[in-house]
């Protein structure tokens, strides 16, 4: 589905990837893991065509990422991407105007479920509320690929379940979801596969059922691999 070939990306002198090659399979919920600063967000932004690679190639379903592939990717924005004057309702309208595939009615229903008031200002939302807004905007588009960057880090347990349910309810088997997270325990039950980024462009890919079949927990496996 997504193929990364010989990718290099630096911020100034700081190289994040020097020569990264990896594949994401289609129609799965994939956990993108790795320690802080390893490049999870950078990788998601490269797939979303928000950042450009210095060298190498990122392609989705055989097509190099570009403005054309963007239409098929829903990337979870963070709340500081919205204008200060915007209310929750404005953010929904903005998405409706911007994306033809945006399911406005579903978004309104989710706002209610997520306890987001349409008239609340995005700027003044609590961290958790802002995160819920960003999750729902991301999920209410109908596209083949969803990219969520640390989606549940700021949520209390109740809303975390709500967010997981929304992720499952809004996506189907024909869609691919990539979720970056350092909170493995919160999300491991919905990962079909995990991809662990390590130093020096090393990558470990594993199927979560196979890990558990070997008698290990996903967390144990992650810790062993990251040593």
């Amino acid at each position: 589905m997504i193929s990364i070939k010989n990718l290099s990306k630096s911020y100034g002198k700081k190289a994040v990837f020097k020569n990264l090659t990896l594949e994401f399979s289609a129609n799965r919920v994939i956990g993108l893991l790795g320690e802080n600063g390893i490049g999870k967000t950078t990788l998601l932004k490269l797939i979303a065509d928000i950042l450009k690679p210095d060298k190498g190639e990122v392609s989705i379903a055989g097509e190099t990422v570009s403005r054309h592939t963007r239409a098929g990717v829903s990337y979870m924005l963070s709340a500081n991407n919205f204008y200060g004057f915007m209310k929750v309702r404005d953010a929904l309208n903005f998405y409706r105007d911007f994306y033809e595939d945006f399911d406005y009615e579903r978004a309104v229903t989710l706002c209610h479920e997520f306890k987001l008031h349409p008239k609340a200002r995005v700027k003044t939302l609590s961290k958790g509320s802002a995160e819920r807004l960003c999750i729902l905007l991301c999920l209410c588009r109908c596209v083949p690929l969803y990219l969520l960057d640390e989606p549940v880090a700021g949520l209390d347990p109740k809303f975390k379940h709500g967010a997981i349910k929304a992720m499952l309810a809004n996506t189907c088997e024909e869609q691919t979801v990539i979720i970056s997270s350092h909170l493995l325990r919160d999300l491991e039950t919905i990962f079909d596969e995990i991809i662990i980024l390590k130093k020096n462009d090393e990558v470990v890919t594993a199927n979560t059922d196979e890990i558990r079949e070997s008698g290990k927990s996903v967390e144990q496996f992650y810790l062993e691999v990251s040593e």
Binding site: L168, E173, T189, R212, E213, K216, S217, Q220
Partner: protein, 117 residues
């Protein structure tokens, strides 16, 4: 449902559905929920749910009719019960033996346990 960490989730879900059959919450020829409904109920992906149902089918506990859904196989409750009891007893005996408890002691403990029940 809270899952154990080191057993595949599809296996744990299949066990849970078998428990429902044994407990009579799901009866002969009852229609199971759809993959989508189960996926939301257990908070797992559709892929995991497909695997759970495939396992139940391969064990002969449910039957899937294409385009209609999955159903509890008639008469499977007793079979599942026998299998579950066998498993529990086998597990109990092997754990007791690992702790160095003799057959006589095992029997004595079971009798005592039943008397106090």
């Amino acid at each position: 449902m809270i899952f154990l960490e080191n057993i595949p989730i599809y296996v744990q879900i299949a066990d849970d559905i078998k428990d429902q059959i044994i407990a009579g919450k799901l009866c002969d020829d009852d229609k199971l929920l759809s993959i989508r409904e189960y996926s939301l109920k257990y908070e797992v992906t559709a892929l995991t749910m497909q695997r759970a149902l495939a396992l139940l089918e391969s064990e002969g506990a449910v039957e899937t009719k294409k385009g209609v859904g999955s159903f509890v196989k008639a008469g499977v409750r007793e079979q599942l019960k026998v299998r579950l009891v066998e498993e529990l007893v086998r597990d109990f005996i092997s754990r007791a033996k690992n702790m160095g408890i003799s057959n006589d002691e095992i029997l004595e403990n079971v009798r005592e346990g039943l008397d106090n029940d």
